[in-house]
């Protein structure tokens, strides 16, 4: 039997700063969180803009914990702590919890440090022992569990840009099917030139030279991804547990789907995306017309946005409101699915959906879908959140306001 699963805590570290409130007020202001990156010299890379997290307060974390954390893990732990506080849980309550959290890669900065010694000095003798723990594939999940003292299951999805939402799907299943009472789910990433260079080599990076208008999802003038960083964490809990302790309930997870698109490792597949959304709707026992808002993955790439837009048109037609948060935030990579889920929940709870920043001239190649240009108020209902990734990874989650 499937149990009902609710969101009882949320935490964020984003290009708007530390905390859910910084993210939410930044988004509501409509401004851009993007900035110029420090100058660098790297042949073949011309990216100038990124969504960087401002300095955060991490000194309260003991050194013994911080020593194995690169910025992505620090950000994830801060977001996890915020989610627990929001949920009214204390340190002791985290003990039995599971964690599903990942990143696109282990810390690229630490990989650079390791390989600099390895390749240029032909030695690894001066590489600190703690570097490995920042590079390993499950560095975010492991560091969050260590910092919070969690003893439940450790899941570390590696689904590139869909990782944060994949973590929510996996955590949802663990709680829904009674394996865990609480799962802390999300994703984190840290900016590195390697990430920007990867997108640029694929012809999918925004080459804007200034932050304004650098990320324009669905717009005809969009030119690609603006890489970002951050961490988002959602606390998923069985409804029974949440009611039993009188926890705040921010939303209910109504259903989810994870699918693969084996047609291409790089090119998004509109039919597969439509299939993933339909599967999530089926899982939630909802029809497309029940959905109040679609939170698009839309990263501002030429092919990704058009595939997703056409899939949304196929499933929802032109009437369901659709927007992407990446116009403001850039693409926070593994964090994006989690941070944007938080925003979908907040928008729904306040009955105010925010438009896609930077979208002034919708590209017809992205389908005829429900773009809007001003905040949309007075609307509430189940919301559908997408996240897709290179490698053919598709994830969709349906959130709703909790109703007894």
């Amino acid at each position: 039997m499937r149990r009902r699963v609710v969101i009882t805590g949320m935490g964020a570290v984003s290009p708007f700063g530390e905390g859910v409130e910084a993210l939410w007020s930044g988004m509501r202001s409509g401004r851009s969180a993007l900035s110029l990156i420090p100058p660098y010299q790297l042949e073949g890379l011309s990216c100038r803009v990124a969504g960087l997290v401002p300095p955060v307060e991490e000194k309260h974390l003991p050194r013994a914990l911080r020593r194995t954390m690169s910025p992505m893990s620090v950000h994830a732990v801060l977001a996890a702590e915020e989610a627990l506080r929001a949920s009214g849980l204390g340190a002791e309550d985290a003990r039995d919890m599971g964690v599903a959290a990942g990143s696109t890669l282990g810390s690229p900065q630490m990989m650079q440090e390791f390989f600099t010694s390895f390749l240029t000095e032909n030695t690894v003798e001066d590489v600190r022992s703690t570097v490995f723990f920042k590079v390993m594939g499950h560095t975010v999940a492991a560091n969050v569990m260590l910092a919070l003292g969690c003893t439940g299951r450790m899941l570390a999805p590696a689904a590139a840009c869909a990782t944060g939402l994949a973590a929510v799907c996996m955590g949802y299943e663990a709680v829904a099917f009674g394996r865990e009472e609480r799962m802390l789910c999300g994703g984190a990433d840290e900016f590195h030139l390697l990430t920007a260079a990867t997108f640029e080599r694929l012809g999918a990076a925004s080459l804007a030279q200034k932050p304004a208008g650098a990320s324009r999802p669905f717009d005809i003038a969009r030119s690609g991804v603006v890489c970002g960083e951050g961490a988002g964490m959602l606390l998923l809990e069985s409804l029974e547990s949440a009611l039993g302790r009188n926890a705040p309930i921010f939303a209910e997870v109504r259903g989810s789907a994870m699918t693969a698109a084996p047609g291409s490792i790089a090119h998004p597949d509109a039919a597969a995306i439509a299939g993933c959304m339909r599967k999530a709707l089926d899982d939630a026992a909802l029809r497309p017309c029940d959905i109040a808002y679609v939170g698009a993955h839309a990263t501002a790439t030429v092919f990704g946005d058009s595939a997703e837009g056409r899939a949304i048109e196929e499933v929802f037609g032109a009437d369901t409101p659709v927007s992407s948060q990446k116009g403001n935030l850039g693409h926070t990579m593994a964090a994006s699915g989690a941070l944007e889920s938080i925003l979908c929940i907040l928008m729904n709870n306040s009955a105010m959906f925010l438009p896609t920043a930077g979208l002034t001239d919708p590209d017809p190649a992205c389908g005829r879908i429900g773009h809007f240009t001003e905040p949309l108020t007075g609307r509430r209902g189940p919301v559908l959140k997408n996240a897709f990734a290179l490698g053919g990874s598709n994830c969709t989650v349906v959130f709703d306001r909790y109703r007894a």
Partner: protein
């Protein structure tokens, strides 16, 4: 204790205080690096790297390294290396 010894002690203490965020007041020679300074096996691997950088010489595999228990042992180990009393790679 010579002036050079004092410089070595200061270099060791500064390097360890910075790396492991230690309270300078805790850096007494009799402090046990595990029990009193709170370092564990991972830290001790990194401690060697930090000291190698501070003194510009290889310490790993030197005789006597494994016997170090206290901060004073570290001071003596480096001073002995300077004096050539503990040469050779083990």
């Amino acid at each position: 204790m010579t002036k050079d010894d004092t410089a070595i002690i200061e270099t060791v203490n500064t390097a360890l205080a910075e790396e492991f965020e230690l309270d300078p007041a805790a850096l007494v020679p009799e402090a046990d690096i595990r029990a009193d300074l709170g370092l564990d096996s991972l830290d001790i691997v990194d401690m060697v790297i930090v000291l190698e950088r501070a003194f510009g010489m290889k310490l790993k595999n030197r005789q006597g390294l494994a016997q170090i228990r206290t901060l004073g042992d570290i001071h003596a180990f480096i001073i002995d290396l300077r004096d050539g009393d503990a040469p050779g790679q083990g």
